[in-house]
Assembly symmetry: C2
Homo-oligomer: 427 residues x 2
């Protein structure tokens, strides 16, 4: 594909061509059998493994350039590939092959009094554009999830991982070809130019059906603001844990510590702890101590600070901040009603947890809060497609349309109606 | 509500206020019980009936102005209300009350090996903006469908029906108040100014979740091009009937005539007839004769005209035209593959029918065509939420996201995940 660019074609021409190829591939994929798609995923895994040396060389060049450019350690860590990471990529393709095929599934079926039989059946979305940062593993993951759900993928990865992605996509396409599916089912945007992203967001003349951004807040914000096609995304995960007066304190400690500290950099990490004012005297200090014991910084309301000395004062902005770090904001609320109001005012509609032994209180929390995921007596860090049993996920969405929460293969489909008659006409 | 305008507030201020009120009402509605919503719908029907004289007076003023402005007969026919039409409106509200509540329905539920119990449960979308032409009955219908599905409605009807709509909405809001639900669940944009539409399409500062346009192609095109929020719509219904060589000719005649001529002005009316070249000698002339007998003009390919004299020549544009009139384009194709290719090239992804006795051919047609509704041995005029058994519909959508085909109360919902644990943390 890089020959387009070598030939000196403009970005517009390259991207238009990618869009047209994707649409053509999508039409074939939409009627590809489950067996054909699974065979392709298996062949892609074989090719990834067989190409390990080439992928490692390409990646070493990306990493060397990245280091020379002074990219941060965490950036380099996400960029770097090892034999083990490449094997995990191949195993991921096989795991996606093992999932059920979401396409063709009859979602509902019923008969009408006039004898018409109506079925709502799952169909692919068409062409999915994925815009992500320099994480080479997303290349294989996203391509495979799209293929399994019968969609063509247009991948636009971060420019610092371009050589790695080129090597990975070449392997994926060899697998597709060996299995007799169109290679253009997975295409990589071969240019680092940001114009390409703009063209994808504009929909490539109707040849992109949905965009999935994966990356930091500024990337997602740009996609959400500029896209002219639907977007599956979340801007941030300002996740809350509410500890109710009826909570079991030991359970609450375990959940709060896990929700905040298991991994602080993921979108399901808790950013705010709300404690019921009714149990502040007994529950607040132990919860804060448990967090501090794990190295978490506490930013707290004045009321909390009066009860538990040694906390930093929370600013107004802290209540709406996704730290993605070992920092948490802590405040008191008046029962579940107070928690609901606080979360509706400051949350990001991603994931919230309540700890309580009171089923009614829990039901109210889960019914009234308008977030994608509500948990009762469990950690917010379960906000993940794998943990939900969906297999891999392409991302987590907080919009209300179509896909919400973890977006796995079952969410990467649309539907249509098939109606079977025996000559019925409408009176 | 009109006092805002009388007070001289700008359209921006009025619309912003409407958006905020709608969001507040939506929060109440999202947790309103089924009984409360149904009681409100019943009370709205009572109020509509009780207000019949006032509605008729308001409508008479609209109609008189419309006639003075020289609006067309069909326009006036859609605008005009009678006692019978108002009764039908009230009965429609009761019919919507009788539908199942889509909110709170558990769409899926499963358990994870770690003991977490996960439910996907239907939730309202939030605030729905409906932009429609001067058809007063849409006011009651759309408001009721939104209420049943727990959503707040912002109605922006055609300016020529403004007085009628004001009277109808006043009755609906009295019903809401009597049932103890927020009046702002149904709001009417009280200004004829087109700026209001632009503000709705921009999403009223995040206070509109989805827009549903109901009306002609130019209205829908403007909404699709300008909206910054999701839109449930179809631009046009270029619906096809394909008569296969394995069709029963008598059934094909009945279906083709009904699909085209039962009502020519609806989106599910057929606009193109495709006949299998293999049965042209036997099927083509009778099908054309049957259509002509009902007064249908035939625009045909040269090949068809050579076989059946007396047809007008179809231009290239005819193959992609939604006539909404007693005109049909007729062409020959090579079997179901030819039909699929023609429809993918010229269709609008709305509704297509195949007439055949061959189940394999029918399956191919229904699997390979990417339209919202595919029918086998039945008329395209069944493309309707009522005919699908969904109760009333707010419209028909041809997008691939979220809602597709007839959009009834079951489509006016989103979902969230409720996860029940016993203290699980993520390892």
């Amino acid at each position: 594909m890089t020959t387009h660019v070598a030939d000196g074609a403009s970005v517009d021409v390259v991207m238009d061509d990618i869009g047209r190829r994707a649409r053509a591939a999508a039409r074939s994929l939409s009627i590809a059998s489950t067996a054909a798609k699974d065979a392709a995923l298996a062949a892609m895994a074989v090719e990834i493994r067989a190409t390990t040396p080439e992928i490692l060389i390409a990646n070493a060049l990306d990493v060397a350039d990245g280091k020379a450019k002074g990219l941060s350690g965490s950036f380099i860590d996400r960029l770097i590939l090892t034999e083990a990471r490449i094997e995990a990529m191949a195993a991921g393709l096989e795991a996606i092959a093992a999932l059920g095929d979401p396409v063709g599934r009859v979602l509902a079926a019923w008969d009408r009094p006039n004898g018409l039989h109506i079925e709502r059946v799952a169909t692919p979305l068409g062409v999915i554009g994925i815009i992500y940062e320099s994480r080479p593993n997303v290349t294989a993951d996203a391509g495979a999830l799209c293929l399994k759900s019968g969609n063509a993928a247009i991948l636009r990865g971060g420019s610092d991982a371009l050589r790695s992605s080129v090597a990975i996509v070449a392997a994926l396409r060899r697998g597709l070809a060996k299995a007799g599916l169109p290679e253009d089912a997975v295409q990589l945007v071969p240019v680092a130019d940001r114009t390409a992203v703009g063209l994808m967001l504009a929909g490539l003349s109707g040849n992109v059906d949905v965009i999935v951004p994966r990356g930091g807040k500024s990337l997602v914000a740009r996609v959400q603001s500029d896209a002219r096609v639907p977007v599956f995304s979340h801007l941030e995960g300002i996740c809350h844990v509410y500890v109710d007066a009826a909570a079991d304190l030991a359970m609450a400690e375990k959940i709060v510590v896990n929700a905040k500290m298991r991994r602080t950099g993921i979108c399901g990490a808790a950013e705010t702890l709300l404690v019921d004012r009714a149990c502040a005297a007994t529950h607040l200090a132990p919860l804060i101590a448990a967090l501090q014991a794990k190295g978490c910084e506490i930013r707290a309301s004045d009321e909390v600070r009066a009860l538990v000395p040694g906390c930093v004062a929370a600013s107004e902005a802290d209540w709406s901040t996704e730290y993605l770090d070992a920092i948490i904001t802590v405040g008191l609320v008046d029962g579940v009603k107070g928690a609901i109001d606080h979360i509706e005012a400051h949350g990001s509609h991603h994931t919230e947890a309540i700890v309580t032994e009171n089923a009614e209180t829990a039901a109210r929390f889960m019914n009234e809060i308008d977030s994608a995921i509500l948990l009762w007596n469990a950690s917010t860090q379960f906000a993940d497609g794998g943990e939900f049993g969906m297999g891999a996920e392409i991302g987590i969405a907080t919009g209300k349309m179509h896909a919400r929460g973890p977006v796995g293969v079952d969410q990467l489909v649309s539907f249509k109606y098939r109606v079977r008659g025996t000559g019925q006409v409408r009176p």
